[in-house]
Point group: C2
Chain length 395, copies 2
């Protein structure tokens, strides 16, 4: 617990110093890539696709210094820096992306792309295509008429964005969580593009456990009477279902160590008077979790969450019959950085992929992140392995 | 995995042999205990309380051989034996309760009581009082007018049942999961009654993590449009919300080891065609989980689930300000049997209670159950520690 307090303080201090540095760097610009008649892995096609992207550092003359960052479930392409001087915090991996950092923007052109069906459909800083987009056939939002999309489709749109910049290969692909799925799928689908792949808090496939676990994120949305089988209006969305889903996601992405720390700051006691006297009252720790979720929900879309769940449920490296088949084509050196106390994508998932690669005589390395944040270690505490990451990328 | 297969087969074989034995034993009888004007821990009162109870073995002359079993969240007093020869399976702990078993009915009078707000409100073999009961003030079901009840209230009604049989002390109290909360609360509230306490897959309190985690079981029910703030009719209950809650509970009570084993039997593949082509279709592993939940839901009540969640959220040993305060009064020798890979009540919860007892110079022992069932190790695989349990009870 003492360790947590210290690390919490250190994290706060780092955040301020990061913010200080970010102010001195050029502000990040969001770009939009648009394509038409986009072929999906399922065989269906999308008449139009728009996605946002952003980059840090400078593309070199022979376009050989590209590091692609693939983002997590509730994330966006905003991996580093700030859009506006007044932004309260920089992109999620700012601790490792920047001049002289683990992913050194003095050397690398770092780029990231908003996923299809991005959760933050209503964020002014996200550009995505999904169920909230207008279906050209009806001139109304797609809703559930939007086709199922896969991690491979995320990869394929990223490849188009890169090709539109004249890029024909990567120095590395690096991604956390759902981003790890994209990273290893890149290595399998386009091996000649990918000499290095880093999977952070990741998985080589969604196993039976994970596919079922992800379904619990979808169920509250489908229960919300305002969901209306996906045909809700922007004015009357299934907010309560979305909030319940986000509460579950947040808890599963954390670990008791951090959570009970938070409980202490709220002076948590099991025998609180309001919930003892009233079945409809909540413990303060539940209210804390709900408030966080509700604040995040305002820029998010419930149908988009369902499609992201599905993309993750369908995931297996290479989108083939098995993980073993999917890794056969991989040429990249791979590095797995799971978190020891991850309850969402437990370390065995990364280990299984790592061991499958080793079994197939590939060059793979595996180190666990420690700390008490659970899954979020890979987002909020990745700097713990910054030296390893830097060495891996610069080897 | 091979170990799992073997243990699965062994479990099946045991089940058959248990069934064989059970047929030779006298059938178990359900009794009903009724009391009026029952004072609750909250300060409120219930005009009438009825609970079911059952027993195995014979009460000795001086009534000194009583072992009380306190049941888990979705369980009932049916810990051992069968009600009817044709019942497909015996009570949940039949592997350890019976003649010459760990809890030896040649020596002990083993008794268990249905909890208040029991989840299986519509089971013909459960007698309980809760939101489905008729409120004498309105002659309609209580719904959310039913007062919040606590683990202490479960303990107090058990004490009345025992006293109605002339019992004034226990040989031991033994309970799994929510039953462990009752067991340690017994030891704290009525120390002169309890010389021995066994906490299986248990906790000494609901910490901030657990209180928040339990809330996710309540949320799907509250989202179901048929819930109607608890004022639903028996003919139109919030079944979908209840099914979603049970799906989550089942998954959290298990572990990837067992779950992926189940996936193998279903020939699990992430890239199933139906969910790839249709956002409303499910993976077969999700359908498996849902079917199990739906089958169980038919005898269960959604409001009762909300009240059970609340009783667990409010729990701290002794129902005092802290765990440390609650354990002060305990005189019992205590034994903690958490499961190493429990994801629902992780072993640290039992360890914290055990260490608090040791710190207070009490006699406490702690051994982890192993195996790949997660939390359910303590229900389905408790016989792993049958020798330890037998020795503890007969010392």
């Amino acid at each position: 617990m003492n360790f947590s307090v210290i690390r919490g303080l250190v994290a706060l201090i780092c955040l301020f110093s990061v913010a200080g540095h970010a102010n001195e760097l050029p502000l990040v610009e969001k770009h939009t890539y648009t394509t038409t008649d986009f072929a999906l892995f399922s065989g269906k096609r999308l008449a139009e696709v728009k996605v946002g992207w952003e980059s840090y550092g400078t593309l070199n003359a022979d376009k050989s210094n590209v590091v692609l960052i693939t983002h997590y479930f509730s994330g966006s392409s905003h991996a580093a820096g700030k859009y506006r001087t007044e932004d309260p915090s920089p992109g999620y991996w700012d601790a490792i992306i920047g001049p002289d950092k683990a992913i050194d923007t003095n050397k690398f052109f770092v780029i990231s792309v908003d996923s299809l069906v991005n959760l933050s459909a209503y964020s002014p800083d996200v550009v995505t295509t999904g169920p909230t987009s207008i279906n050209p056939a009806t001139q109304k939002p797609y809703g559930l008429d939007f086709p199922v999309v896969t991690i491979r489709d995320f990869v394929n749109i990223q490849k188009q964005v890169l090709e539109s910049l004249g890029i024909t290969g990567l120095h590395a692909v690096v991604g956390p969580s759902m981003g790890s799925m994209q990273a290893i799928d890149w290595a399998s689908a386009y091996p000649s593009w990918v000499p290095r792949m880093v999977s952070v808090i990741g998985a080589g496939q969604s196993d039976a456990w994970t596919t079922a676990a992800l379904e619990h994120w979808a169920l509250p949305i489908k229960l919300d009477p305002q969901w209306q089988h996906g045909n809700y209006s922007k004015a009357k969305p299934p907010t309560e279902g979305l909030v319940a889903a986000l509460m579950l996601i947040t808890q599963q992405a954390l670990h008791p160590g951090f959570f009970n720390q938070q409980g202490n700051t709220l002076n948590y006691r099991p025998l609180e008077d309001a919930p003892l006297q009233d079945i409809t009252a909540n413990h303060s720790i539940v209210t804390w979790l709900e408030k966080r979720a509700r604040a995040r929900a305002s820029e998010m879309d419930a149908n988009h969450l369902l499609y992201l769940v599905r993309a993750c449920q369908l995931f297996v490296t290479g989108h083939q019959a098995s993980l073993a088949q999917g890794i056969e084509s991989i040429q990249a050196k791979t590095l797995f950085l799971p978190a020891s106390n991850d309850l969402l994508l437990m370390p065995y998932l990364a280990k299984n992929a790592h061991e499958a690669l080793r079994h197939a005589q590939k060059d793979s390395d595996y180190i666990e992140l420690t700390g008490d944040l659970g899954h979020l270690e890979g987002v909020l505490d990745i700097q713990e392995q910054r030296h390893k990451l830097k060495a891996f990328l610069e080897k």
